[in-house]
Every structure is written in C-alpha cells, then in structure tokens.
C-alpha cells in the first residue's frame, strides 16, 4: 500500500507540472461548466442541478484519459523498466493511476459544485453524499477502463486514437451532453450497456432530484463491478517492457471487462427501471421550464 501511495504522490506531482495536463484536467472542466451554464442555463437556476450532473459526469469521465495514458508514455520511454527493477508490482502502478486521477478530479468536482451553487444560484446542493459516492466509484471505474486501453495499445498515438473513439461514445451516449430521453427507444437501450450512462443518470438524479445514496445504488453497483473487473483485466494485461507484445488472450480479457455492463444493460433493458429514471429526470427538467398552467375559468 505504501508503494501505491508513493507512486500516487509522485504521479500527481508530475501531472501538475505538465501544462497540457493541467489545462485539460483543471482549466478545461471549469470552462466547460461556464459554457454549459451560459449556453444551456441562460440564467435558469432550476436547470443548474441537471447541468451540474452533466458537468460532473464529463469531469469524472475525464479519468478515462487522465494518468492512465501517462503509463503508455512511461512504457514507450522505458521508464517503466526502471520501476520494474524496484520491489514494485503492477498492481501498485495501476492503483496509483486510479488514485491520482481521483485525487486530482476531487478539487475540480468541489469547485464545480461551489460555482453552481454560489455563483449560478443552483437551488440546492443536491445530495452531496450520493454525489461523493458516484464521483469516487465513477472516477476509479473510468481510470481502470483507461488502463485497459493503455495495456492493449503499443504507442501513444494508438492509445489516443482508440481513446477518442470510446470517449465519443461515452460523451454522446451517456446523456451528459444530449439528454438520453431525446434519443429513439432503441438507442436508449444501447446506452444501457455503456458505463457512462450509469454515471450520468446517477449524478443527474443526485444533483437535480436530491436522489439519495440508496436511490443511486444501482448506478453505483454497476460502476463498482465495472471497476473491479476492469482493474483485474488491466493487471493481467499490464506490460512493463516497450517491446513486450500484447498477449493473444488480450481480446478475451477486454471482453471480460465488458461483462458487468452487458449484464447490467440486459437487466435494465428487461426491467426498464433505468430508462424510467432517465425519462423521469428529463420530464422533471422540462416540467420546471414549462410555463405555469392556469386552472379554472376566468
């Protein structure tokens, strides 16, 4: 555990010294928040809970890129070889990616909540406990998914290409950028198989509807199972050496990482509960915007 913590602090220190990383991890999410509030919110405080959920989702999903990608550079440059000479396991190296991503996402998450509440007059704080749970598990899950990509790609270019493709899927099918309720039914069902959807729905529920930890339990469990499997898969596929080949069984391991989301997607598709939450969140949002109805004759 102490090795993991040592690596975590080192990697956080390196990350904040990297201007590009600092911009994309710290400045960009805040700019994104301001843009979303100005473009979508247009001063409507009743929208802020929903917008916060979406912004937090994008921030937490950013862990998918984060320091997991840094491992590919470390491997390419032979830096991991030097670490391999020390009494250090792959687990510590991978866990340090997850922890450092989390600790660096946390201040931004707090800042985003504060800005929404204090600067843009969000009507409530949302359920902070539920938000904390989802941010914690979500950040770890997306970091672990990023680690899998880092493990099966050989170069930074390859990693970025694959990450971009997956990221687009996360971004548009999570509901964080376009409300899932606006999608046709079949696409909503496809989204149920994507981890980002559970994070977005959970955070929107906690941010806009004050959903409790128990009410976002399904989302949390889906993400937590995804984390456990993804971490083990990335540990199995981890390579210290730049010239080490991706093992043939890698594809099977990658498929294994999808199993929790396939199971949850199928389950939710059958029960329809998640789709109900998605549409409920959206209807409440629309309801808040609709003009008050007049009742009775004048």
């Amino acid at each position: 555990m102490s090795n993991t913590w040592t690596l975590t602090t080192m990697r956080m220190r390196l990350a904040v010294r990297n201007r590009a990383f600092f911009f994309f991890s710290f400045v960009m999410p805040i700019l994104f928040l301001l843009g979303a509030v100005l473009f979508f919110g247009r001063g409507k405080t009743e929208w802020m809970g929903y917008i916060l959920g979406a912004i937090l989702t994008v921030t937490v999903m950013g862990s998918f890129w984060g320091l997991s990608v840094q491992l590919v550079t470390f491997r390419e440059q032979g830096i991991l070889r030097r670490f391999r000479l020390a009494p250090l396991g792959a687990g510590a190296m991978l866990a340090s990616s997850i922890l450092s991503n989390y600790f660096m996402a946390l201040p931004i998450v707090i800042l985003e909540i504060l800005v929404c509440r204090l600067a843009f007059h969000m009507q409530s704080w949302g359920n902070l406990w539920a938000i904390f749970i989802l941010v914690t598990i979500g950040s770890a899950t997306f970091s672990a998914l990023g680690l899998i990509v880092a493990s099966v790609t050989n170069t930074m270019q390859e990693t970025q290409m694959i990450n971009n493709l997956i990221w687009m899927g996360f971004l548009f099918l999570s509901g964080a950028t376009i409300p899932l309720a606006k999608f046709p039914g079949w696409l909503q069902r496809v989204a149920l198989f994507i981890p980002a959807e559970y994070l977005a729905t959970g955070l929107e529920s906690a941010g806009a509807r004050m959903a409790s930890g128990y009410q976002v339990l399904e989302d949390s469990v889906a993400l937590a199972l995804g984390l456990l499997v993804a971490f083990e898969v990335s540990r199995q596929l981890f390579r210290w050496e730049p010239e080490a080949r991706v093992p043939r069984k890698a594809k099977l391991w990658v498929l294994a990482a999808l199993v929790p989301f396939l199971l949850f997607g199928t389950w939710e598709s059958v029960t329809g509960r998640q789709l109900h939450h998605i549409n409920q969140n959206f209807q409440e949002l629309i309801g808040q915007l609709a003009p008050p109805q007049t009742t009775g004759p004048r």
């Binding site: 080192m10 220190r13 009494p87």
Partner: protein, 306 residues
C-alpha cells in the same frame, strides 16, 4: 573460492530466430568486480537483464544471492541495484525526488543527501531530469542503483556514449564500490574499462564466453605476442606481411596493418627489407605489448568496436 554470489550455468536466450545467448556460464564471487566484455550484440545485455530479473532465460541456471531472479520477486529486488543500458525517468521529476522516490520502495534505504553528495549532484538536487547532462543522468542512475545499499550491482555499459572526463568520474565511483566490497557485474565494450576496473573478465562474442580470467591471466594466456601497427605508403599484396619473421598473425583494419609477432626486432628488420624490395614506404610504426583487445582479436578475429 566460496559460494559464488552470481552463478550462471549454460544460459540460453533467443528472440525469435535470433540466438542472443548460447550457453554462457560464469560465476562471480562476493566483493568481486566481474566484467562481461564484448561487442554490441554479443549477448551481454540479454545476460545481465536475465540476472536482473527483467527477462526470463530459455534454459540454464541463474542464481543471484542464492535466488532465482525470475521466481524470487521482491525479496530478490531488495538485494540488487542496477543501471540499465539506457535509464529513463519522467522529464519533470527532480533529482532529489527521484532518489527519494526509489528509496521508498525498499526496506533498507540509503540517505538521499549522502547519495547526492557522493555522486556530486547536490547542486542539481532541484533540477528536472530533462535538464541534466548525459553524465549527470548517468550519475543519478548510479545513485538510484544504490538507494537500497544492494549486495549486487549490475552496471550495463555505464559509460557508453559519455565523454572521457565523465567516464573517468564513473570509473572512480566503481572503484569506490570495489573498495566497499560490493559485488559488481559490469558489461562493457571498452577495453580500458575492463582492464582498469574488473577483477575478472569474461570475453563474450556471439552469445558465448570465449575466455575467462583476470585481465593479466587473459593476456598471459594469449599467444603472448607484441602487436605492431604499421601504416604504409601503398597497400601490400594480401598475406605478404604474414610471412615476415616472427609474425603469427596479420590483419588489416582501415589501412593499418596489425602484426602480432613473437620476435618484434626481427619482424621490424624483415619488414623494412621487404618494403625496400617492394619500393614501398613506412609511414608509421607503433608497438604495443599484448592487451585485452589483442586477446579479443585473437579469439574472435575482429576488433571490439567493429
């Protein structure tokens, strides 16, 4: 001799169709500086990386401090220190941070300030790794190899590509390790490095140990000939110089004829006569007592850095 601290027996390693190591065997004693001397591609790095636990052997027996590097995990890594052929660290890692970082991974830790002082890095303690010169990077790599006060230190071509001044600094550090009774396995293709630093040397070529012994023994056991290097105004007919009196071997390297002679005075007299007959001129002549390079040429038929 006691139990060897490094033991290698009949080691084999292939990369696809390329056989990098073909039956290497040697043993190093505690407190010994043992050298693997050979040209690039001889199998030195593969051997040392198997000993460090970075690669697995195809077959053969390997023991370091009585442990199998491929099986012993962290217990083994606590006992060794290593400088890789090419050490890389994150660009934005500071010098002192690098030493502290690696020290924290071990149970036994050296003092960072002492290491910085010992490796003349105190002034650079706050510098980013990317801002260091080649020599400073190598000194840092050496300092990092000693953060756990290891029993065995592997140095894979620690002075390759460094200028002579820095190389001498590294030699001083290795000599200090030697005085401290550390076991050092050093790979090199620099003759002077092996002669100056190593207690014993294994000459390696094409994945095999060609000869093994102290530098003195190796030179003594060679043909014991004097090397005469001559440059001539015009090339001579192939093989002509090989028949001069006392000459046991003659080869040409980039316009220089290298003769090995058991009777140097007679050879020189015969050479001058031969050149007069041929109407050729002697441009330069140098004589050397046998060196490890000569031993290497004798064993392999080529120079170390060809």
């Amino acid at each position: 001799m006691g139990d060897p601290i490094i033991q290698v027996e009949d080691l084999y390693k292939s990369y696809g169709a390329v056989e990098a190591v073909r039956g290497i065997s040697f043993a190093a004693e505690r407190g010994e500086v043992f050298g693997l001397l050979g040209p690039n591609g001889a199998g030195k790095t593969s051997t040392v990386e198997i000993l460090e636990g970075l690669r697995t052997a195809d077959r053969g027996l390997v023991r370091v401090c009585g442990l199998d590097p491929s099986q012993s995990g962290h217990a083994f890594k606590e006992k060794i220190g290593a400088v890789l052929q090419s050490t890389s660290l994150p660009d934005k890692l500071r010098v002192a941070e690098a030493i502290e970082l690696f020290a924290r991974f071990y149970q036994r830790r050296a003092n960072t300030d002492e290491l910085l002082e010992r490796f003349q890095l105190t002034e650079k303690r706050g510098a980013f790794y990317s801002h260091l010169s080649g020599g400073q990077k190598q000194r840092l790599a050496l300092a990092m190899a000693l953060v756990n006060d290891p029993e065995v230190i592997f140095l894979d071509e620690p002075t390759a590509g460094l200028d002579p001044q820095v190389r001498r600094e590294i030699y001083d550090i290795i000599e200090e390790l030697k005085r401290g009774r550390k076991t050092v396995l050093l790979t090199t293709h620099y003759i002077e490095e092996a002669e100056r630093l190593c207690d014993r040397v294994a000459i390696v070529d094409h994945g095999r140990v060609m000869a093994l012994g102290t530098p003195r023994e190796l030179k003594r056991n060679s043909a014991g000939t004097t090397r005469i290097e001559v440059r001539l105004a015009r090339p001579v007919v192939n093989g002509l110089l090989a028949h001069l009196e006392g000459v046991s071997d003659c080869r040409e390297f980039a316009g220089t004829y290298v003769l090995h002679s058991a009777k140097p005075p007679q050879t020189i007299v015969a050479l001058v006569k031969q050149l007069e007959t041929e109407n050729n001129e002697l441009q330069s002549l140098e004589m050397f007592s046998p060196s490890l390079e000569d031993v290497f040429i004798e064993l392999t038929g080529r120079r170390l850095r060809e």
